[in-house]
Amino acid sequence: MIGGIDMDWAAFHVVEAMSMSKFAHKKIGYLAASLSFHDGTDVLLLITNQLRKDLGSNNEYESGLALECLSIIATPDLAQQLTPDVFSLLASGRVYVRSRASVVIFKLFTKYPDAVRIACKRLVEKLEDTDPKVLSATISVFCEMALKDPASCIPLAPEFYRLLTEPRDNWLLIKVVKIFGLLLPLEPRLSRKVAEPLCEIMRHTTAKSLLLECIRAVTVGLPDHGEGLKLAVQKLKELLMENDPNLKYLGLQALAALMPAHSWAVAENKSIIIRGLNDDDYNIQLASLQLILGMVSEDNLIDTVHVLLQYAERSEVSFCNEVIGSILTTCSRGVYELVSDFTWYTSILGRVSRIRDSAHGKEIERQFVDIGLRVKEVRPDLLAVARGILLDSTLLECPPLYRVLSAAAWIAGEYVEFSHNAIELIEALLQPRIRLLPPAIQAVYLHSVLKVFIYSAYTSLKGVYNEGLPAEQLFSEKDEESTPLSQHLLLIESEVKEVDKAGIVSEEQLEVNMTDDASMHSISIDSQKDIMEGPSLGSECEQFKRLFELIESNVGPMIEHSDVEVQERACNLLGLAKALKEALIISEGIPVFSQSSSMDNALEIVSFLRSVFGKELGPVSAFAQSRVAVPEGLVLMKNLDNLDGMFCDDEVKEKSLTPEFKTREWEVGPKSAESAPDTDSKHGESSSLLAQHRQRHGTYYLPVEKDITAENGYPPPQIVQQDIPSTSSAADDIMKLAEQSLTWSKPRQTKQRPVIVRLDDGDEDLILSSKVKRDAKDNLISSALKDVLVSGKGKPSMKFTSKEDGKSLFRSQQHDHNAVVEVNSNVSVNSEEATKKSGKRHGKHRHKTRSTSMSIKDTAGPCLNQSQGDSHNSHSGQKSRHKSRTPTAIIPQPDVIPDFLS
């Protein structure tokens, strides 16, 4: 494809152009091929011979063309067929071809791992090539291999070391240093040897790229080498001081790599890092932020967060969100292990929730509720923060913060006993603008109003009672009356239960035992503390009147709300308010305290409801669900895909029946459960339709005897299909079920921190260790490489010894590459052969030099090359001697670094 246009249609013309004799045409053809061919191109089959011909061409540029093309379009087949040709080019006398062939051979390795066995040894020889270009290309290849599997390259460490210590150009050194960076963690013994040259390079090099590479290698490879580290950190500091954003960014990244093991290095550069927060560059800001948060400890958390928040509030939205997100995750890490002052942390949460455009409403909501559940001591502060949030009516205009508001409302309802002014809370919760909120959150608000209302009614009534009657009398009276009344209240209880279940945040455990008078006692005694001092009848009455008015005027309109949930809760609330009003106040507003029986009734209702909400909530273990036995006969694993069809024909009816029904959000499973009776009563029609529907699709329903439970807890059929795809609602269901088996360990006291409730197993990290899996092909390459380098390095394989012109042999073998492998593995560990090999080596090198001089004649190159050829010749003797020495050190103990290093 060229310029983003598919040119597969021209594939055949490309092949034609490739086979043209004129070089310029051929070159265009090859360019087109390398740009447009891919594994799926069918004409690839046609070009094998063309490639082979050009690879073997006398013109080095033609070979270069073919190599270039092959490096991009190689397929496993092409690789298998052309490996021998490329292999022979590795020995070519021309630098141009040799350097490119060594790069291409790596591509062939990846496509056809068996090529490693054939060509790897010669590639290793290329590490001793006299030409820097060939060396550079070969090192690049080994660098790639080391990236894939460092262990397999360890036997070559002596060669790399030699390259590291000889003066070379920076490109080569970068690669060598990178290889050592990969090898050092695997082979600690290398560090003794390598540390000095690395330090030397760091001291003297002027190239920043090389310096950076050395710093990286030292970071991962020499974590215990004091001098090297010190030098690296010092150089890093110099990089950070430069005004170049590139160097600053890379320096910060290098610091981040140093951070886990050497936090002192980060601490030294603290001022630079903090300045990085103000940088123009988002990347640098982020890097600084990560570093700062990485350095956070219990002692400096408060300061750090304050500094960060100041930056956040001043910076632009995306970075601000980034900062807040990382503050939230850092502070909540390990169940708030860093936070020791929760009053402070709740105030931070409150501050963070005022930031408009926040993308973390959900997380803030979670943490608010979580802290409320886990940390008892902080609840009064939490309530104060929540009150602030609720009173700030401007927040009602920020959709991103709706989740925070819902958390605040929940806290207000749940921990209302810590408030000094419940009326104010109700006013805040019922301000007219809450209609701007989504229905789900309005529902939370209404539920909280119910809780606060009951609390305030209870305390006031208690106050009145205490004035009039002695406490013992009150309780004895109640004891007598409670039994008949409890029957009546059962109804209310079930209502309340439904309301509770549906709340998004409310994870209430409603195990309220109606007849448990003892609990009632304890609660009433508890709450005596909260009762306001000396309430006068008149002010109580006024307060009630105001409350009722407030509720009637604001909750009243919600009775006709389009969302079932809100509607239901509004009805409940209003009903309760009316009942209490009748019991307490006659129409002119004169309290009916004289009629103690109605007064008692009111108190009974209120204190019962109070006891319902008085139960403390706790966090639920993530594994709680697994402790619940699946009821017999309940099929959970059944595939419900085929319900789709059923859903379609329902939809038509829904549309014609209830237009508003469609617009509702069925967010949570149990919430929708409540709609079943509701819809049934509202639309008589729909119940008959439901019956029809059941008849038609009876298989999907539970048996009739379970209908009772189905009506109580399971969503009606229309909702079933909508619930299935959303996993979140499923998770919610699990949470609800899990409440039944809620267990958590006793609070643990740590230091002076408040107790944070932890679950026995629920807070264990669920993060799976992310293990990088190498694909099968890489494994093949590295295993082949290991075979060749570790066991076979010094030993000549048959191919190398027997073939001067390996090409023809490979031709005969190529159709059965297994044969090649077999030959390879059958090589005997024979020392005689090893000696034989060195002789052959000489021959090979001589051959090589001959061809070099030939190529010089061909291209009429400068005579400089001639002398190079000579030196090459004289080198070869030494080289093979050196070569035969190193392998002998390796063979007896394959996994040990040659004595050369020790």
């Binding site: 983003g4 490096s71 920076n170 950076l212 990347n283 640098i284």
Partner: protein, 143 residues
């Protein structure tokens, strides 16, 4: 594979040259180019020349109206790649004589040839300017 792709993009975000060293379908390339180029163009000179995009690291450099973008492996040395980009630009400069966007548009194959001489299978194989240009000039002479 150290270098995954080389892109030349103008200030308007139009791709003038694209060379990939790993296979991506046309749709993938289009999406990748679109996202990366948008990110690069929005950055100012005072910001660093590296962006991270999904699993790619992109090193870019701006020359007049042309952006040179090189996508590399995570382990690659960014500064070395910046050197490489500079070398590429200098080579093009020498060949075209003060290279501009039009040169690359109308001699796309020449630009590809230069790149081909420098990079092979994602590895930088040649950085000597005269060595890079020798085969191309030889070809020009003969045709």
């Amino acid at each position: 594979m150290t270098i995954r792709f080389v892109l030349l993009v103008n200030k308007q975000g139009q791709t003038r040259l694209a060379q990939y060293y790993e296979y991506l379908t046309i749709e993938e390339r289009r999406a990748l180019e679109g996202e990366i180029v948008r990110k690069c163009l929005s950055r100012s000179d005072s910001q660093c020349s590296f962006i991270e995009h999904r699993n790619h690291k992109v090193v870019y450099r701006r020359y007049a109206s042309l952006f040179f973008l090189v996508g590399v492996d995570g382990d690659e040395n960014e500064l070395a790649i910046l050197e490489f980009i500079h070398c590429l630009v200098e080579t093009m400069d020498r060949y075209f004589g003060n290279v501009c966007e039009l040169d690359i548009m109308f001699h796309l194959e020449k630009a590809h040839f230069i790149l081909e001489e420098m990079v092979m299978n994602g590895c930088v194989v040649e950085i000597n300017k005269s060595n890079i240009l020798t085969p191309i000039q030889l070809m020009d002479k003969n045709s």
